[in-house]
């Protein structure tokens, strides 16, 4: 056992990873006076730059409620584009878009607004650039007295016992806490060190992410076009710009990324169509390999995994980060509930509550997104017909459609207090 004097930093929780999930976690806990130390490899100033992360995130309605409850939504909302309408269509480059398509309008949920969670004209969600989210979170984290961020800093080891966790930094400093939270990404060193196995595979697809500017306004319409190589998503951004998440066969992506701007834009325009007028590139392009990961357990002795460390999915439905945010809201709630009773926040019963709460929701969404990816990423005629009929059927069954919409908005299941718009 370590002598008390060997400890350099004390906190209630040790969070490995200062990305979007880790920062939101620290912030949520700080609101209930639970102190966190966040250990992040990247220097904090490097992250909000466009060159670090060119991606956008679809922030579901429920996720925006979480940010609002943590007081950071106001710092993001000016750069958030509300999604008022989602159109989903199946197509290929020679025949064009299938006439059978699915159309989600945010006003359709108005008939459903007798519940307290959704307000009548609530948008389906928002599109934000990740750097906007990172900047707002980083500012709030920096201003919190309950959060200490160590960045750039590396965790050499995390020792977990029945009585607490001790993290040792690469520079030898020791951190003592009651609980370690792995927000350390898809390859989570904490998950690996804890011996938690995961279902883990790569799709033969890579996503190209870029932003285009256009002549005509998008009016808050998001479009997902299912092409044989993978989904081509057009996500509305503020200021007549649209973010493109273009998933395509990985070999093809290598050559697409090598094209000059003019040739690349021509390939984008072929798929985008001319519904918003002429396109121009409005920033660099990025590529991200796509995969699926789901940890067999989210918890171990004094350890909880959140976000990509627990699950990483295909961006087909824009749900990955939203799942992570719901992890944060649920874990923060069980920790805070325990703290208010003076219970040990790293106790197995506390962690079991988190595991039970999140596993069902995450398993359902991860499986659905994997299924969708496999169903749509091909050009096999019977499958095309089946999925077109499927899309059209969902369109014709309003209750089913509303359920799908509520799922996409992140307001299904046992909701954490933060998602319900309550105080933590």
């Amino acid at each position: 056992m370590n002598d008390k004097n060997d400890v350099d930093i004390r906190a209630d929780v040790l969070i490995a990873g200062g990305g979007m999930a880790g920062m939101t976690m620290a912030l949520a806990l700080s609101h209930a006076d639970v102190r966190a130390v966040v250990v992040e490899r990247q220097a904090p100033t490097g992250m909000p730059k466009l060159s670090f992360d060119g991606r956008t995130s679809a922030i579901a309605y429920g996720s925006a409620r979480i940010f609002d409850g943590l007081g950071v939504w106001s710092a993001m909302v000016d750069d958030a584009e509300p999604i008022l309408d989602v159109r989903v269509a199946d197509g290929n480059l020679t025949e064009g878009v299938s006439p059978l398509f699915l159309h989600y309008d945010h006003l359709e949920l108005s008939s459903d607004c007798h519940d307290s969670v959704i307000t009548p004209d609530a948008p389906l969600g928002y599109i934000l650039e990740n750097r906007t989210i990172r900047r707002a979170l980083a500012d709030a984290v920096e201003n919190s007295e309950n959060i200490e961020t160590l960045a750039p800093s590396d965790l050499a080891s995390v020792d977990r016992t029945a009585f607490g966790v001790t993290g040792v930094l690469a520079d030898g400093r020791r951190i003592k806490a009651a609980l370690a939270i792995g927000a350390d990404g898809r390859n989570s060193p904490l998950r690996v060190a804890a011996g938690i196995a995961a279902t883990d595979f790569r799709y033969p697809q890579t996503s190209i992410v870029c932003t285009v500017a256009h002549d005509r306004p998008h009016n808050g319409v998001a479009v997902e076009l299912f092409l044989p190589g993978g989904p081509f998503a057009m996500l509305p951004l503020p200021g007549q710009r649209t973010n493109i998440v273009w998933s395509e066969n990985s070999e093809l992506v290598t050559s697409l990324m090598a094209l000059d701007d003019a040739a690349f834009l021509a390939e984008v325009s072929r798929r985008f169509g001319d519904w918003l007028g002429a396109l121009t590139l409005a920033g660099p392009r990025f590529s991200y390999p796509l995969g699926f990961l789901h940890a067999e357990r989210y918890t171990e002795l004094r350890l909880a995994l959140i976000g990509d460390a627990a699950h990483a999915i295909h961006p087909i439905a824009g749900q990955g980060f939203n799942m992570g945010l719901r992890d944060v809201a649920a874990l923060a709630e069980v920790i805070v509930d325990a703290r208010r009773l003076g219970l040990d926040i790293g106790d197995a019963t506390v962690l079991a509550r988190y595991e039970r709460w999140r596993r069902f929701d995450n398993t359902l969404l991860a499986t659905m997104c994997d299924g969708l990816t496999r169903l749509f990423s091909n050009d096999i005629p019977p499958l095309r017909l089946a999925r077109d009929i499927g899309l059209a059927s969902v369109e014709k069954i309003p209750p089913l459609k509303r359920l799908f919409m509520r799922h996409a908005m992140g307001v299904v299941g046992t909701l954490p207090r933060l998602v319900k718009g309550e105080l933590l």
């Binding site: 056992m1 008390k4 209930a32 006076d33 029945a162 009585f163 607490g164 509930d337 325990a338 703290r339 208010r340 009773l341 003076g342 219970l343 040990d344 106790d347 197995a348 019963t349």
Partner: protein
Amino acid sequence: MNIANPPKRSDQAAPNPSRSTIDDAEIEKFGKMAEDWWNPDGPFKPLHALNPLRIQFIRDQLIQHFQRGDPLKPTPLRGLTILDIGCGGGLLCEPMTRLGAMVTGVDAADRNIDIARTHAQRMELSIDYRCAAAEDLAAEGLAFDVVLNMEVVEHVAEVDLFLNAAARLVRPGGLMIVATLNRTAKSYALAIVGAEYIMRWLPVGTHDWLKFVRPSELARSLRTANMKIETLTGLTYNPLKETWSLNERDLGVNYIATAIRTNRLPA
């Protein structure tokens, strides 16, 4: 033990000649299970399941009685002195300490005190643990803001004598909280047959139904010790949801009483 016919009172342990309220057989029984106090899946699993609810009840009662404001703020019990009688491995002492109280835990089994002391030390919590009986502390003239008698009364040799000693340890105006099991047909079915024989939640013999205390007996006993019962609430278990809840209308099995120490000193 024939579970169809509850045993008669004749097999009750003989009162200790030194007039201590400690029942040696009971102490022996719990001392043997001491290693498992902090294992949430061990023999004390039901206690771990019940713990959040009884802590919340105690916290809220104390906040209300001592006018402590917002229960959601950190350390709402700051400065209160609490004595936990029959503290076992410290399952209540540690949370009460984290909530800000200055806690003394006593238990008649020295094995329990060893476990509790070591655990608190490793959790870096400062708790005064003593291997003692309520009477020992009363003889020292100690008094506390709050005395907790949680799941203890049903294990002592003489309820009246025990509660009298415990009441002397409450300062005038202070609170005693007593949680115990009612002596009803329902408690026999649930707490003995159900929990020990069928569900195997508790080792067989954990409880002796004849030692269970009716609320009326508790009230009379407390009254003679100058304690006035303020609240009486049942605790009920939902086996489907596996959760405990407070239920004011069902005192049939587990119940909790809150009593205030009146100004007169007990005789």
